[in-house]
Symmetry: C5
Subunit: 409 residues, 5 copies
């Protein structure tokens, strides 16, 4: 299938253009309308996205932020090894054609050359839809059969210093004597495979290109573990912090951030598992039994990674419970302080207020009202009152102590 | 199958009519009874709905708010292209019959013409139940085999400016040399396909009508992405707002509104995925392998859309957690202010109340009660008291500072 | 299989009767024991239920609240139509036997005649277990094959004025020339089918009895929509009420009541879906392809009803979240009022308490203590104090305003 | 397979014994260590359990609390009926062997006789693992094929007066002319089957022993309904109590207790359903079609029981929501009382405190400070103040009434 | 397959090294950045993990903390029994080869001898990937076919005194006349099997090595029960503690800890169940029917363990609900004390404050203001006031008692 030429200008459409989307006055705008600035921004983002819709399937679009391609050809067999980075495709292609009996790994990093991409598509007989998958921002891990072999997509993950999972796509085409890989970034995690390939007499050199595809898939899967382990370490650090009572709002934000990472991780790894399961179900003439043994090992790894992600999710949910309970505990503690102080001093204030009243011993007519606050005139009035107040305080402290409100918790 | 004539008046029924639904006095009316106005309204809505029940299956009912139909016929093959909007069906039909060797796409938008609908049903040999699905308010995405080809239902989505998902139905019938589509609205998202069709030598023109059906399905699926992305942007805006501490009750309402949208979106896309999976399982003579390759691509897209919806749900649940925690935090903060103010001033008030008491130094009998509040008569009494009060305040502030209640969180 | 005669008195059992269930003193009675009256009632309910256990399978027991039976026989074919309610079975049976070449629908409403039930069982060759299902209080929707055709159970729902789902059972037996239906109530939702049957030349009259069974199943399924729609309307009314801030404890009770309804509805519809799926899997000689097309339509409807129930559940869970958050909001608001009032007036009270102290300018010895509250003797003391108090109030109001506690939210 | 003789003393092991499990000092003992008494108890429980591990599979161990066996043999066919409890196995065995052409039901209740158990195992040709299942504390419901027929395990439930589910195990072996059942308790729920068996000419007598096994399974299943109904009644009682606002902490404890029961019930019934499904999948020569019809009925019952359990779980979760919301409501109510009282009286206290200040009209130098609290000297001062205070109270009451805090809510 | 020699130095790579991962200034560092010390630690952990990635599959790496190997060879048949721990492999191998007609169990505990591991791999023909699994930290339970028999991985669990689940790996290879097991720890739970093996005439000795593999798997599974039972006991202790109202923050921490254990346990046991299910699906010539009977028993045990784990999870979730509700209850109780004290004394304080006002009976001009607080001059003023205050207290106490706030709950 050859890429079609650029389309000519379309004839005028007999259909009137759709009217612009008007605000509907009959909806409850007030409740869901964000600020004007937010709205403008959200609208703009949507408009941009819709522009990209509806292209012919298999239309190759270079992502705007793509890097210029770097081509690395590794040619090898059990005896031979040659590895070179080429500036142009022609020279590489010539070398490739000179060694039809060797095995080749052509690693293309960066897509910013539509012409090169189309030539590769033609030379390696790649279906336009698959090429589109290669260039897409995000393609789930999958495996498809091609005329020459297999098309595999893997997602490489990395848990960066700032505790985000980053993932790049690795697209692999296998053929009878070649492996063709595409990546959108120069950095990758495939160096260990290159190293093993450079090393003489490795089984990688002896085995068919499909084994190289396995090795690449395996090294990608191996990277899931440090990613997950980094998440696990981070979770433990957060857990410790909460247990030490040092949790604040930002801790919750971090927990929820990690949760997002875990969800995203699962979303990456789950199709990886499905991909390998599908590969294992393929007939033996496409994926020989001796290679399947190795993919079976990958399958175990993918399942274990998912297991781990699942238990991290449980941990996250426990941490959220713990955080919420802590928040509630702190509110309790605040209230306890208020209650203790108030319960002690409000009654005392009443009593002293009582003896601050101005009931007059002597009425206006000079008559002595002996019932009006005689305590005030007693010589022991004040000391007795003070003792009484102290008694109240002691009583209350004992009460609160018994309730356990005075101890630290 | 021809549509039956209108039914004659039914003979008198020997069964007595069911009595009107009376209020049951034996139930707890008080607890579940809404206001009288609400009740009347709810009853009315129910009555209207029940009226529509029990029609003969396949009875064609034009929805009350249907638009008058607009017919657009696109006739094409690799060399030929003709696109015209017809006012009446007769003329269109004549043109259609004149070109039996071309491929046709008849796009019907608006259903408000029962006669036209019935003629189309007859001419294109459509099963009454399928025609009923076309006219129904809401039909899940599905695929069915017909005598001439396939019957496909897709749901087109749009995330409107006011953050609601709107969805319209696209019904597609394929035949050996035609594609017949029905929509209930004039606006649609199929323009990109029309554009590609107008363009000469596109693979759309070369391939059989089923490929056009694929192209339509694909463009509908492609519209799920901006819908989801708009939801994603909106969620991020809300998340930011919560993180800035600017969340109020309306933010929760918005979050729950988005959750509803996501649930609804999943409900739309899930059957889409099933539909395509069923299509892929069909025998190769109905859906040729070369077309299946394209539908497989659609399948990947549908799964990715569901994946995304799933992770948005997790985000929503995180946002709700965060909102609830914020609410609780704010309550804590309010209580802290209360506690700090009360804890400082209530004891102070007690002390000044103490020295506001009127215990008399001189008893009624003129005896000096030296024990009655001698502090009041000390020359340094007032300054010492003030110092003591200041000491208490300092002590409490230090205590609260150590507890971390004075710092911002 | 003929119903067995009443069992003779059993021979004396060699086993001693089980002792009555004694209270077990070793369990924590106190914690789970309800009031004595509750206990007696619960015990009684259990005893009654246990009495009904262990009957011979297929024993026909008329439910105690069964209505006397009403028999309606509709005899029809494409030309012929006769509908009559019979007082006794004999007459009906005679008519039935006279027209072996016509199709019959015998509709039995009310079971309160064991003799009739047994004669019907015998005449229509019904398995005792199936007859038991017909008479049971609650039987999930299902389909079973019989010697003569199919046995179908459907559940008819109704959302009553008081917002409860009521459901009645419709049992359908099909045979070569008859459909036999059982209902336990006189009211039903089958009237539309009767109406279509009375109408001449309807496809109902032309097609085999199985199609009538389909039509009955379909009209039952059609009734699920108004039920669900009524729930949807009700949920919206509740949602609105919560958004208006008018929610109280009864609103939560209503939400939970609706949730119960939705759960119950799912429990009704889910087996309906399974039933139809099983029907569609039956061989074509039992359920002809041309009838299956119609049941496939029912299947779509059942799935859509379940979809809707699922999204209503999500709505209910959102409403509960919203309600809980509102409750918490209201608590916050109450606390804010308390905090604002307390924070303003408690310090003020302290200050005025301060100047209510009785420190004496003149000591007992007549010495003037100039340090004892000279403010009280200043000519501007009072106005300055008032200004100071006002300043404090203003300062606090500004502080609370900035915190956003004075605005409505 | 004959039971092996007791093992001789083992030769000395060349492996050193594992050291006793020492406390690991490197773990966070403090956080998870319970009280010393708790620890000792937990350790002891664990040690006891570990002792029982690792026996040869099929080793028959009589549970320590087993009852002495009671043997009841029921011998029957269509004409013949003989039921007798035997003291010893020999006599029973002789009777059994005398009637090889009759059907027998041997019901063994209580296991406390290893010799008897082994003889039964030998005579009825029972696999040691199955015998072990019979004697085990808890064995999920299951069905297995044996050389002579089937081995069925059912779990009999009972919801006791104290609202606990109790379950006992019923193990059933079927053979060509016998049914052998084992129970660990004397009380059982099989009496209705015995009754029907005693009754002449019942289908139980006519049909093969497998039908008796069905009847036993069915009566066990029938007992699930009163159990579930009792749970349902109990839930309703609790629901009512919560709605009446009479809920306290013990109500939550009860709800959670019922939840535990429901979970346990599901755990009992779920394998029952699987067991019957497996039975229905068995070939017709093992379970004849005419018996399967009856088991299909059981299957329906098991599904309905699970359905019910599922909806009870939803009810429990609603009750928990309601309880939590009530708790929160009550806190709100408490706070409202506090806020209303405080908001009314704290400002009043300030005002009266204001006029309790001692600012002096006459300065020390005899100068009259007319600005110092002239209100105190006004003839209408006190009445005006009282009126002002009353006004504040009225104003606040109106405010709180408008907010709805004074009404019952 | 022979292990490859150490790789020679790799040729210089033409690819530049990836730049070190720099902090990205465009991300929100502040929100997710932990303390510097935390960061350094997390980075270090990640770096170490990444170093281990990308090795050739099947590369044998001895874990750094591996123990020196201990070899125990048990040689047996029905008549013969010999058990010896060998210091070196040569001697053992010689003995093994001398008895080709006996059955052997070679138990290797500890891996710290790469040479030995490689010799075993060669002698027993173990696939490098399987050997890698043996040495790995954590490998899910699984079964694989090998050239000679099966490769089984089990996970042995132990619930330690400090309430942690520990798990070790048991790897089992079976061959025609041997069983080869690997463990990484000296302690194990296999002693009961050794004991039964030492015992003469046990079926273990008679049956093929696969039966020994079963016995080992079974004893591992049997250990799951005390683990689960210990968790169950612990949960009950916690539940009791909460019911006694003695719950504090550490109780929640413990509950969440147990939850983690349960999740981990399920993660261990679930693959165990799958492993046995796969084993049961293997053809009879690999796993004979008579052995499958025993594995079927294991399968039942695994399912029951999972059942139990599931219901423990429900218990944990109930305990969390209960804990949260208790926390909320306690807050309520604190608030009630505050409210009662405040509601009683704040109004009283107002009243006594009222009579502490200094309104003057005699104005500055000597005029008597009879309206200014005449109560103060009444002879019964004070007693009447005291009575009034007492009345208020009584009224409030009655009010609170009626509300149920004074009783214990």
């Amino acid at each position: 299938m050859t890429p079609p030429p650029a389309p000519p200008a379309p004839p005028a459409s007999p259909l009137p253009a759709a009217p612009p989307l008007a605000a509907r006055p009959d909806e409850d705008e007030d409740d869901h309308q964000l600020s004007a600035a937010d709205l403008v921004e959200l609208e703009e983002a949507r408009r941009l996205r819709e522009e990209r819709i509806g292209q012919r399937p298999g239309t190759l679009t270079i992502p705007p932020d793509a890097l210029p391609p770097r081509l690395l050809l590794t040619t090898y067999d059990e005896e031979f090894f040659h590895e070179q980075e080429y500036a142009g495709y022609d020279e590489l292609r010539a070398f490739f054609r000179q060694h039809p009996d060797k095995k080749h790994w052509l690693d293309v990093r960066g897509y910013n050359d539509l012409d090169l991409i189309e030539r590769l598509q033609q030379d390696f007989n790649i279906h336009p839809l698959q090429m589109e998958d290669v260039l897409s921002d995000y393609q789930r891990a999958k495996v498809e059969e091609t005329d020459d072999g297999l098309f595999l997509v893997s997602r490489m993950t990395e848990f960066t210093r700032l505790f985000n999972i980053e993932d790049d796509q690795l697209s692999i085409f296998t053929g009878p004597n070649y492996v063709l890989t595409f990546q959108d970034d120069y950095d990758d995690c495939l160096e260990p495979v290159r190293l093993r390939l450079r090393t003489g007499r490795s089984s990688l050199r002896r085995r068919p290109p499909l084994y190289l595809a396995y090795a690449l898939t395996d090294v990608v899967l191996d990277h899931y573990y440090p990613t997950m382990a980094a998440i696990g370490d981070y979770l433990e650090t957060l857990e410790e912090r909460i247990f030490q009572g040092r949790s604040d709002r930002r801790v919750l934000a971090r927990i929820l951030h990690v949760k997002k990472d875990i969800v995203r991780f699962r979303r990456l790894v789950y199709p990886e598992r499905e991909k390998i399961a599908e590969l294992l179900r393929m007939p033996d003439d496409e994926v020989p039994e001796e290679i399947k043994v190795f993919f079976k090992d990958c399958y175990d790894h993918a399942i274990q990674a998912l297991d781990l992600a699942e238990s991290y999710r449980e941990t996250v949910s426990s941490l959220i419970d713990l955080y919420m309970s802590d928040q509630s505990n702190r509110a309790n503690e605040v209230m306890k302080v208020l209650t203790i102080i108030s319960s002690i001093f409000i009654p005392l204030s009443f009593i002293v207020g009582l003896y601050g009243m101005n009931f007059q011993r002597e009425g206006p007519n000079g008559r002595v009202n002996v019932l009006n606050m005689p305590e005030l005139y007693s010589p022991w009035g004040y000391p007795i009152l003070l003792a009484f107040l102290a008694l109240i305080v002691v009583f209350q402290l004992v009460y609160f102590y018994r309730k356990g409100w005075l101890t630290n918790k």
